[in-house]
């Protein structure tokens, strides 16, 4: 290690520290500070203590709905979504001719901009000319009209379907980890007479515990950031049926111009993220192994 180069250390760290302070740190300070105030667009900032927090949790129905939705989505995403991704990874890891193309195809919905994915679904689910209604009409022979994103009965499910099955990222991450398992291990298991299913269950999956935990974290926390797809499809409606926290923050800032309330929601969103992270790490016992 080279010593006595304090000058260079400072110079090399300065750009990162400055940018972090400007974009993240200052925002966090504004966020937390103003969450205890009243602040509308153009108004003066006045201190009000916990008023915003109390209001959100006791009176704001749409906010409570957005928390509930976010929770349901976190739960679905960290279970079904991850399971889909892991099973595909297990099937593709058998190194068949189709492994690589299927992996690529499965990742396409993850690699395009979420705004484009939202738009794709908006078109596919369109009541008049959408693919889904078109197919149902074709099969039943009758004109089928279902307004997937505006009908309170189907809106939640329709939004969920834009991300729940698309676990290409999980597949890619699990497959990358699998490739590091030593061939000898499989060889030994096969000699002992293990079927490929037994190998998957008793050798591969236990070794994948950490990466699956990571995938659960990624899947769960991604539900705290879904603004684009919601915005492209339902904007949180009908009512607050598909409202999530980012969408509600956006609305509070730009439709209601209530800055302090939006920032209170932001603080709650960050706390929620930390709690979710902590819970998953505990469930997967990930804390011990990391340095």
């Amino acid at each position: 290690m080279k010593k006595n180069n304090t000058k260079w250390v400072i110079l090399f760290l300065a750009p990162g520290v400055l940018l972090f302070s400007f974009v993240m740190l200052s925002s966090l300070l504004v966020l937390i500070g103003t969450s205890f105030t009243d602040w509308f667009i153009g108004s003066k900032i006045t201190f009000v203590g916990l008023k915003n927090y109390i209001y959100l949790f006791t009176e704001d129905k749409a906010f409570l709905q957005s928390i509930k939705n976010t929770f349901v989505w976190i739960l679905l995403q960290s279970t079904i979504h991850v399971t889909i991704g892991v099973t595909v990874a297990l099937l593709l890891s058998k190194k068949k001719w189709y492994s690589s193309p299927v992996r690529t195809i499965f990742f396409i919905p993850n690699i395009i901009s979420s705004a484009a994915l939202g738009m794709l679904f908006l078109c596919v689910m369109n009541p008049q000319f959408g693919l889904i209604n078109g197919l149902v009409s074709r099969i039943t022979g009758e004109k089928f009209i279902q307004n997937w994103y505006n009908d309170p009965k189907t809106a939640f499910l329709s939004v969920t379907l834009t991300w729940l099955p698309y676990a290409g990222l999980v597949t890619i991450l699990v497959m990358a980890e699998m490739s590091s398992i030593s061939e000898d291990l499989f060889e030994a298991a096969r000699i002992d007479g293990a079927t490929s299913f037994q190998i998957d269950m008793h050798i591969v999956l236990p070794l994948m515990k950490n990466i699956i935990g990571t995938c659960v974290i990624l899947a769960a926390t991604s539900m705290l950031q879904k603004l684009d797809v919601i915005m492209m499809t339902t904007s949180g409606g009908p009512g607050a049926r598909t409202m999530n926290m980012p969408m509600y923050i956006y609305k509070t800032v730009f439709s209601n111009n209530n800055y302090s309330l939006a920032n209170t929601q932001g603080v709650i969103l960050i706390i929620l993220g930390v709690v979710v992270l902590k819970v998953i790490r505990t469930l997967f016992r990930m804390d011990k192994e990391e340095e």
Binding site: K2, V9, L91, I105, P246, Y250, I270
Partner: protein, 273 residues
């Protein structure tokens, strides 16, 4: 037994491929249909290659401007991010100083802060310093958003470089900066490729801050073009399809060409999560 298993595998993977590809292919086909073909709700192939929708799409929304902005923002956000993170990662790996733990924490903090929480504070700060509605503003935000992943990729890679190379350079009289530029950076090239691709895709696909930190169409990036269509030209379906294709294609092509880097970058970047 074996047959059943094979059939089930085949079925499962087919469903996966169908749900991943069909929506996109359907939109691609529909983008070449006339408006009346689309409205009749037919599922089949277009009758011919009607590029009229693309012409309309480019006429309705300034897609070319959006494209240009996306490219500029993507390139500069990637360059700036790589420069800042490689420098920081290098001193964190190679030098001893007191606040190392704090610096590492700072670079990973971005991972646990959902971007939506920062919408209002960033909007206010950026309006205050005249970065609202500028490409520079977007470049700075994306550079910051990508710091955790790039920093981690760089740190892991630099750790694998034997220190003897730098030592030799120092003995030959090379200074700190020159050693970094001429010895370390050339070896770190694979890490630059990996982190760079991920960072570029982040900037290219980002929606939330592109929407909230820009105000007029001259400064907006490609993902916003779609929002623009949804809110302003929702009746011109053909153009909407065409715009979706135009926005989605570059990401798909980038992924197919640079698959190795994308996969490596995602794998490395996820570990810290």
């Amino acid at each position: 037994m074996k047959i059943i298993k094979k059939t089930l595998t085949f079925l499962y993977l087919s469903i996966i491929c169908v749900i991943s590809l069909v929506p996109f292919i359907w939109v691609l086909f529909s983008s070449f249909k006339t408006n009346s073909e689309i409205l009749s709700g037919t599922v089949g192939l277009p009758t011919g290659l009607h590029i009229a929708n693309y012409v309309t799409a480019f006429k309705l929304a300034p897609i070319v401007t959006f494209y240009g902005n996306s490219i500029i923002v993507g390139i500069f956000a990637t360059l700036l991010n790589l420069i800042i993170c490689s420098m920081a990662a290098y001193v964190v790996v190679r030098c001893q100083f007191k606040i190392k733990g704090l610096i590492t924490l700072m670079f990973s903090l971005g991972l646990i802060i959902p971007g939506a929480a920062l919408i209002q504070p960033l909007y206010t700060t950026f309006s205050g310093v005249h970065l609202y509605n500028t490409l520079t503003g977007l470049v700075l935000v994306y550079t910051a958003l990508g710091m955790p992943t790039t920093f981690y990729v760089m740190v892991s890679y630099i750790k694998t470089i034997p220190y003897s190379l730098e030592e030799a350079a120092y003995i030959d009289g090379s200074g700190f900066f020159r050693t970094f530029m001429q010895v370390v950076l050339p070896i770190t090239r694979p890490a630059f490729a990996t982190a760079g691709v991920i960072q570029f895709l982040l900037a290219w696909n980002e929606f939330q801050f592109a929407l909230t930190l820009t105000g007029d169409t001259k400064k907006r990036t490609l993902p916003i073009a779609l929002y623009y269509f949804k809110s302003a030209f929702a009746s011109d379906y053909g153009a909407m399809f065409a715009a979706t294709v135009v926005v989605a294609i570059p990401s798909i092509i980038t992924f197919i060409i640079l698959q190795k880097q994308v996969v490596a970058g995602l794998a490395a970047g996820s570990v810290k999560g």
